[in-house]
């Protein structure tokens, strides 16, 4: 399941090879290899505990892999700490949002926009995220903790965008949101992609996800068990049965 052969291919942003991780001896991720090409939406799907979040945390530097490599634009960034990875151009919007609850919406954005790579274009970044999420502009002076779940998700994504990433990783952005918000979030993901943003999407909402993904990887017990285009997977009976609850 090695993707190393693709690494020299032009336009490959992220490539992982043989990534493994364990929590106190229990294997969470085993030899995962995925590639994300420029301009794509790539999806990681699978059940709870399949190792999706662990994988993207290793890519973003929030966890150090036990074995394996992470390449970004051909450069080895394995084991680089999170605050340096984001400076390279990979932004992870973490699971369950983790907004700074006691800071205002504006302060949340300010912190992320202060990176060396993004600081000079902070004003444009504000314009961009407020145009994407007008609601955040209305609430800019409010504490992030007072926002609804959907608004906090918007803030978390906006915070990621303030770092002006080349690749945006979204970990379960639709988790716990009302169906109305879920639709909005997916519409927004697609819009960002059309503007040129490369996206790595971790999701449990398989139907919505496969519909917009250029490529998808299915994780099971820490391993990649399938990879294909989103469209092909959506048509696949086995995937339908396992993840969409359809017979």
């Amino acid at each position: 399941m090695s993707d190393m052969s693709n690494l020299e291919t032009d336009g490959v942003y992220i490539a992982t090879d043989g990534l493994s991780y364990d929590y106190n001896g229990v294997t969470a991720v085993s030899k995962v290899g995925i590639t994300v090409a420029k301009g794509q939406i790539v999806a990681l799907i699978g059940a709870n505990g399949a190792g999706k979040s662990t994988t993207v945390k290793m890519i973003a530097g929030a966890l150090k892999p036990r074995t394996g490599r992470v390449l970004f634009g051909g450069r080895d960034i394995t084991g680089m700490p999170a605050h340096k990875v984001v400076q390279q151009g990979i932004a992870l919007v973490p699971e369950s949002r983790l907004v700074f609850r006691h800071l205002t919406v504006l302060e949340n954005l300010q912190i992320a926009g202060h990176l060396p790579r993004s600081r000079d274009r902070m004003k444009d970044s504000y314009d961009h995220v407020f145009q994407l999420f007008p609601r955040l502009y209305e609430r800019r002076a409010q504490h992030a903790g007072s926002l609804s779940g959907g608004e906090q998700q918007m803030l978390a994504i906006a915070r990621g965008l303030m770092t002006l990433p080349d690749v945006l990783i979204l970990d379960e952005p639709s988790l716990g949101l009302s169906p109305l918000f879920v639709g909005e979030i997916f519409k927004m993901i697609r819009k960002l992609n059309q503007e040129g943003m490369t996206i790595l999407l971790v999701e449990q909402n398989v139907h919505h996800t496969l519909a917009i993904a250029d490529r998808a990887y299915v994780l099971e017990k820490g391993r990649v068990v399938r990879s294909d285009t989103g469209r092909a997977m959506l048509a696949d009976d086995a995937v339908k049965k396992a993840y969409l609850g359809m017979d």
Partner: protein, 291 residues
């Protein structure tokens, strides 16, 4: 009139307590560490001011910046080494034991260097006082109160309006998200610890002109800081000010109307009552997420 005079004394004392506690409060709120070395930093500030006064004739108020800068460095290195090792290899609780041990070692070293005698710093204005109507207040107490308020206001502005301050608050609430936003969390922890030590040193320099000190007084100041945080709430200058003023008032009122020997008993009574009824302090945890 006696009552008013007692109130004024209590307020002046409270300002000192607030400044003496705010560094402890910041470190507690951001790193989750109960720093039992805090009183040592404070007493070290007093001795630093004493040395500068005796050898170079520098006024204790002017010695605040150099003392604070040196202690910032000491606190920074202390966190990056001993505290970091203890927390990363064991747990936050381990830092309690480690800081207690370091406090004992340094207290004894201070006793070796400076002797166990009680010292004071006495600049020319030490024995003047100011009178408003019938209320009298020592000039040094007035200066100390003023300086405490100035430092607390500066700290508030720093936390609220600078990138460094925002980063400290963000890291206190969500270390993981902070690092994903590009903040070097480990370095921010060290800087916050350094800031806490610098504030302790600054208050030590001020306390040197108001109250006698010796190496052994450090434990009392750590305890005071703990009580101030329990009363006022964790992590904010406002909480420290509220807690400090309350503690100052409790102290002077008890000494005046009950008995001077009962001040510690009154402090602990209030401490226990607060822990029972409002364990997060009057203003809660300004840094957010409870640990």
């Amino acid at each position: 009139m006696l009552f008013l005079q007692t109130l004024v004394n209590g307020l002046a004392l409270g300002g000192l307590y607030a400044l003496a506690a705010v560094g402890f409060s910041l470190v507690f709120g951001v790193l989750g560490i109960v720093n039992l070395t805090h009183g040592i930093f404070l007493v070290a500030g007093s001795y630093g001011a004493l040395l500068l006064w005796e050898h170079l004739g520098i006024d204790p108020i002017l010695s605040i910046p150099p003392v604070a800068i040196v202690l910032f460095g000491v606190g920074y290195v202390y966190q990056r080494t001993i505290i970091h090792w203890a927390v990363s290899r064991a747990s936050l609780v381990a830092s309690l034991v480690v800081t207690f041990g370091v406090a004992m070692i340094i207290r004894n070293l201070l006793q070796l260097w400076f002797g166990p005698d009680i010292r004071t710093i006495t600049p020319s204005y030490s024995f003047s006082s100011v009178t408003f109507f019938d209320l009298r207040i020592d000039l040094v107490r007035l200066i100390a109160l003023g300086m405490s308020l100035v430092v607390l206001l500066l700290l508030t502005a720093l936390l609220r309006h600078t990138h460094f301050g925002r980063s400290i608050r963000a890291t206190a609430q969500q270390p993981l998200a902070a690092s994903l936003c590009g903040l070097d969390v480990e370095r921010l922890y060290a800087k916050t610890f350094g800031l806490g030590a610098a504030l302790a040193g600054a208050s030590g320099a001020i306390i040197g002109i108001v109250q006698p000190f010796s190496p052994a007084t450090e434990a009392g100041w750590t305890l005071n800081a703990f009580i101030v945080v329990v009363l006022g709430g964790i992590g904010s200058p406002a909480g420290a000010l509220l807690g400090g003023v309350l503690l100052g008032l409790i102290n002077t009122l008890t000494a005046q109307y009950i008995a001077p020997s009962m001040t510690n008993a009154a402090m602990f009574l209030v401490l226990v009552a607060m822990l029972l009824f409002r364990p997060h302090g009057l203003l809660g945890n300004a840094m957010g997420e409870s640990r």
